[in-house]
Subunit: 132 residues, 2 copies
Amino acid sequence: MAVMPPLDPAIAARLKRDDSGLVAAVVQQHDTGEVLMLGWMDDEALRRTLVEGRVTFWSRSRQEYWRKGDTSGHVQWVRSVALDCDGDALLVRVDQVGAACHTGDRTCFDAGDLGATAGEQVGHDTQQGGAA
Amino acid sequence: MAVMPPLDPAIAARLKRDDSGLVAAVVQQHDTGEVLMLGWMDDEALRRTLVEGRVTFWSRSRQEYWRKGDTSGHVQWVRSVALDCDGDALLVRVDQVGAACHTGDRTCFDAGDLGATAGEQVGHDTQQGGAA
């Protein structure tokens, strides 16, 4: 069995992992800008994502690696991966095949509007408006 | 001192918080689709964000509430807030004033490209391509 090289140490040194060794990965459709879902990656999931052209997460519920689309066919083809300024979040831009959400919705946020009150700047003053 | 009502129990019941009581909040510019940053919210930060028209986070490093823009002027005006299918991530669509990143960059991901190998589907086959 081939021994995989670890994640590039220069990248690994920049990660600010949570207590479970994970960073958040925001997945965005590269052309429309849709935020599709949020997943979690450890060093190995990130390494695979950077070199395989497909997105791999660490599943917190199943405690195993999970390459998106292997079961559903709803593959995420990697376009770019960026780390944020403080090292605890990744932005993964992809070309999403089909639905990103296991419910069949295009994104995992489609069904979850919480009815926020909108705010807006008016001139030099500020106000709140919209329905609660 | 006024006692604030807690977060709507129907919403609170849907949150899947981490061990620190937090959920991830992805912040997106509402019109361009830019992913600006990722922050963290507890129930109270979410409650404030839903009713105040401005985004409040919980700062993990400072262990305090942090209403974006109070110091920098780089306010995030709320347009909508959605919870994802499994309750551990929020998508907050905003109108961002100025730079979202403390470095002065528009987004916290601008300076962080990790040089991923891109993947793409070609016909019914798959391939990887692009520079490593």
